[in-house]
Amino acid sequence: ACGEGGSGGAAAGDDGTITIGFAQVGAESGWRTANTKSIQEAAEAAGIELKFSDAQQRQENQIRAIRSYVQQRVDVIAFSPVVETGWDTVLLEAKRANIPVILTDRAVDSDDTSLYETFLGSDFVEEGRKAGEWLVENATGPQKVVELQGTTGAAPAIDRKEGFEEVIASRPDIEIVASQTGDFTRSGGKQVMEAFLRSTPDIDVVYAHNDDMGLGAIEAIKAAGKVPGKDIKIITVDAVKAGMEALAAGEINFIVECNPLLGEQLMELAKKVVAGEEVPERVVTEETTFTQEEAKAALPDRQY
């Protein structure tokens, strides 16, 4: 519908610089901010002009931003979808305007894979599995697990739960005794953990969908007179700096990394796409896991 005719980027074509329109979800967490920063820095380093917009966690704002990128005839559109669903219409517009699209961080749920070139990002279900595997390997005897979920309905929360449950299903003696949302925040994690500590005796393990809730839980555990990492084991996802420090200090037992530093990979993909080269349909970010020892070793080099 929109922008028929103009193929190729008027905004960039002339002097050869590539323009990327990047529609970020928001700045709802430290992780996200690191992600944004990485993309901005990588763009500058690669000499790519970046048009950045922040959708304030709202899909409709993101759609609006993508639409305005189509209007502005950028060379590549990249975005981290807030939700998996609901992108077909606007992506179709981009396709009609011959603007390639790169997804970061999260895939979209569409039958028509021609709507985007590639998807660069982590696999949240896999992260949940990694967390589960560590527990299965390291658990001796029955374990009572409490789970601090992310925001209800948020994709990482759903997938990390799913992956984790999938793996621990193999061990009937590992049981999730309570599960509640802590909204991905520290105070949420703390409040929920306080209530769990009172209502559920003898918790062995806390599985938190991100570091922040884990850090909140540590505070609650300490306040209850127990020792985090010893009396109660803690597994989290993300590996932000504060989490890594707690891991190194022995207050967290295991962290699954979820790498926000996608900038360089994204810029490379963008260049290839503009140059018309083939790109793989799925690019997984390099991600690892950390035990307490690994954290001590890795901590000095952590960027975020």
Binding site: G26, D54, Q57, Q59, R67, Y69, Q72, G86, D88
Partner: protein, 330 residues
């Protein structure tokens, strides 16, 4: 007998006119500053991207005109998308799905209206409870987002109507029809005039023998219906149902209505003003995305500042006019 004729002023139109002037000014400023801003399609996109907000603002205008407020609209939008997506996934035909969505919204509105009128619960809490309930029901239906694959919905969503250089969507047509119908109801029907009367002074309206109670319940039904309709437009826009859709949208809508010159205390305002209010907020968003260099936090700050600038300018214009007409009373 003395003839008493207070100065005849179209002063009640001033806020709307002021908002419109401010909108034009801002749009002009955007055109000067950004390449490709001053195109017909940008204006059309303003409507396309905000069709659901326009419909919501219409419903909210009814409610605010009676001196009430409806905090549930964002949640009802989410619930509508969720019901639509779930029903279509379950194989319901599109028309039945739409009916079900509209009926659900209206019934929720009716419930809140009855709570407010019959039980005299304050609108703020009644609709806040409605908001919790609607959002909660979304998650009861499904925690994950559900995409809409129904061909009819897809067709409506992607079809565009060319109008010369620009094109619009069916949602825009629906939104404009709703606006026209709402303006008709508010100004040319007894129900509409009673809405204003109730907002002006509820107890007077009752003593005047007007159907104040029915109107009070009615506006919440209208708002519920509009929210459901907006939810349908939203599901065309998103082609998905999700419990976290439209979080905080109620504030956007209230802001749009108030920016459009409607008084929260009730009795004063126009749907057209609310539409301009939506366009104003949409322009802010468009400017933000054209700017393209703002970090997340500067985005928030700039939105706040632009909002303030709008209101300040609007007040300035209104005040100027009032002073010129010797109306100010302070």
């Amino acid at each position: 007998m003395t003839v008493i004729a207070p100065p005849r002023v179209p002063s009640r139109f001033l806020p709307v006119i002021a908002t419109f002037v401010v909108f034009v000014l801002t749009f002009g400023a955007g055109s000067v500053r950004y390449e490709g801003f001053a195109s017909g399609q940008i204006v059309a996109n303003l409507f396309i991207d905000n069709a659901f907000l326009i419909v919501l603002a219409v419903g909210m205008t009814f409610v605010i005109l009676t001196g009430g407020i409806d905090l549930s609209v964002g949640a009802v939008v989410a619930l509508s998308t969720m019901i639509a997506a779930a029903a279509l996934r379950a194989g319901w035909p599109a028309w039945l799905t739409m009916l079900a969505v509209l009926a659900t919204g209206s019934v929720l509105g009716l419930g809140m209206g009855l709570m407010i009128h019959k039980l005299r619960v304050q609108p703020f809490i009644a609709t806040l409870a409605g908001m919790f309930l609607a959002r909660g029901l979304c998650f009861v239906i499904s925690v994950e987002s559900v995409s809409i694959k129904d061909p009819a919905f897809r067709a409506i969503a992607t079809e565009s109507i060319p109008l010369g250089d620009v094109s619009i969507t069916y949602s825009v047509v629906v939104a404009l029809l709703v606006v026209a119908f709402a303006a008709y109801v508010l100004h040319l029907t007894r129900f509409g005039r009673t809405v204003y009367a109730v907002g002006g002074n509820e107890s007077s309206a009752t003593l005047m023998g007007l159907a104040a109670g029915r109107v009070k319940v009615g506006v919440y039904v209208i708002s519920g219906f509009c929210s459901a309709l907006a939810g349908l437009l939203f599901s065309f826009y998103m082609l998905s149902g999700y419990g976290l859709h439209a979080v905080g949208m109620e504030l956007d809508v209230i802001a749009a209505v108030v920016v459009g010159g409607t008084l929260l205390s009730g009795g004063v305002g126009y749907v057209v003003g609310s539409v301009v209010g939506v366009l104003v907020l949409g322009t802010v968003q468009t400017i933000i995305s054209f700017e393209g260099t703002l970090s997340s936090w500067w985005t928030k700050i700039v939105i706040g500042v632009l909002l303030l600038a709008f209101i300040a300018l609007q007040r300035l214009i209104v005040h100027r006019q009032r002073d010129l007409q010797g109306l100010s009373r302070d």
